[in-house]
Symmetry: C2
Subunit: 328 residues, 2 copies
Amino acid sequence: MRKELLEDIGEKELINRLGKFMPKDQTSDDCALIKTKNENLLINNDSLVENVHFDDITICPQDLGWKAVVSNISDLVSSGSKKTIGITISLILPEKTEWVWVEELYKGINKALKKYGGIILGGDCSKGNQKTISITALGIQGELKLSRNACSPGEIILTTGIHGLSKLGFMILNKNNFDNDIPLNKRLIKKSIEHFSRPKIYPHFLINLLKTRSNKKITRIGCTDSSDGLFQAVQDLAIASNCKAIMNYEKIPKDKDWPKGDKWDEYYFFGGEDYKLVFSLPKKWARKFSKLDRNVTEIGFFIKGDPSIEFKNKENNKLLKNTPFKHF
Amino acid sequence: MRKELLEDIGEKELINRLGKFMPKDQTSDDCALIKTKNENLLINNDSLVENVHFDDITICPQDLGWKAVVSNISDLVSSGSKKTIGITISLILPEKTEWVWVEELYKGINKALKKYGGIILGGDCSKGNQKTISITALGIQGELKLSRNACSPGEIILTTGIHGLSKLGFMILNKNNFDNDIPLNKRLIKKSIEHFSRPKIYPHFLINLLKTRSNKKITRIGCTDSSDGLFQAVQDLAIASNCKAIMNYEKIPKDKDWPKGDKWDEYYFFGGEDYKLVFSLPKKWARKFSKLDRNVTEIGFFIKGDPSIEFKNKENNKLLKNTPFKHF
């Protein structure tokens, strides 16, 4: 049987069906209502375009829905959001898209919202020749202000987890050739695909930051997420905060089966889509945080100097010659 | 000289340049901060896709930017927004797009924001093969709740202006053949093109509603905008409010030079993109409002019955057989 296509459904019925994924009080009108209780909000927008950010070969619509939500909530968390209010979803889809594709996408979206909080506030769908998912997410600002430009010389650079896995997962699913003489460990293959398809975020980041803060006068933290790769994240912090990052190659946490070699370092540093947090804290705070959560690791420090990245061991600097991932 | 293309600029520099259109405190981070003072917010999202909603022949990028903002603010106003906070802009553009196109688009966006209020809260740009402008707008909810499902039998249906002009302007610019034996009036041609290229909204709608309200117990009003045409607006109200609309053909305001005939009625009722408000009020309130503002006209009333539209003079019902504008 031929599967039902969007062009068979028609615009009104399509909007009606999309409405069923939303809470009842959010449907029928052009605008969604957001009730705020004297709290400041954070807003973020992220678009995923077919054959630029994703393709039908490497990712199924349910995983894509999950990832679209995670990438937006990750941005909110990295800016100090203490709670996700919700998201609006703007879809652009070809007429020949199967309805089941949309349904699966929304299943993934709702699974991620169930896991990390937030509701669908609104959604619309337009015709176009390239699938596009554009999500706008709203969160409530917590007690600390997190931004890229708040790092200071002397602070320790930390990250909340291992990088490169998402990139490896992508390459495995895409059947890319990657630099490897020996067969990859099965556990690492499974873990990498999981990281690519269903990335996790660190929702308790803000709570743990507050838990380990000893000096309550500090309310601003330099932070970003590693959606475009660890290198890009550190570089963004260095540029926005106008200081120099010194990275400690030996301390950077890797999966225990992660192969050695320049290519593998490249996958690690420039991979992207790992959605870990990269941030800097005063020494004492950094020690307390990495003691509280063993997945949080000190990977370097900031010093005065031109906005740039260097490794503590100069031999590792050859790594930095690679160009990070580009969309244009 | 070859004009500068997006692919010449590169992603980082592009984001940097887009940042220059924003207020200074809104740049460098992934999220924008919205300060709220214990007020409820309204959020709306609208996407414009090339060759679906616009094309390079009929509209220049500056007008397109203006229209993208206006269509979003119109939705906010129709939901009872008293003030636009700002917008986030998500662009998808082919690599071969000229930078000057983006610049012109943002000029139009900023002109509309200057006129109707609001700032650019954030923006991002991705590569894609079809130009797409997706805007999310945030407004502050005013004293009245405006929604499609709040119309009641016995209420008068009103609209804030003339319809069909935008459609006519589109047809003129697109060099479409339209049903006309005699040459069109020059003033009407100019006015129609203006309505299509730089549509205006009615920012004082809420203020005038409150000014003419005598019964302060009424806090909910049935309302929508006519972005998809007058017929669609009335139908949306009737369906959401579960009542029947009786339209008075003779009372519907037309441009004094608008030609007569079935085709012209079709352009009028199904044209779209006029961004007028269509709403219903109790009789007394309706009289007071249309007396305060002569552009606001009573065009019919709601009665109990199946959600549908009928004309008072049954002869006009043949008009309703036409299908409204569809995106899918």
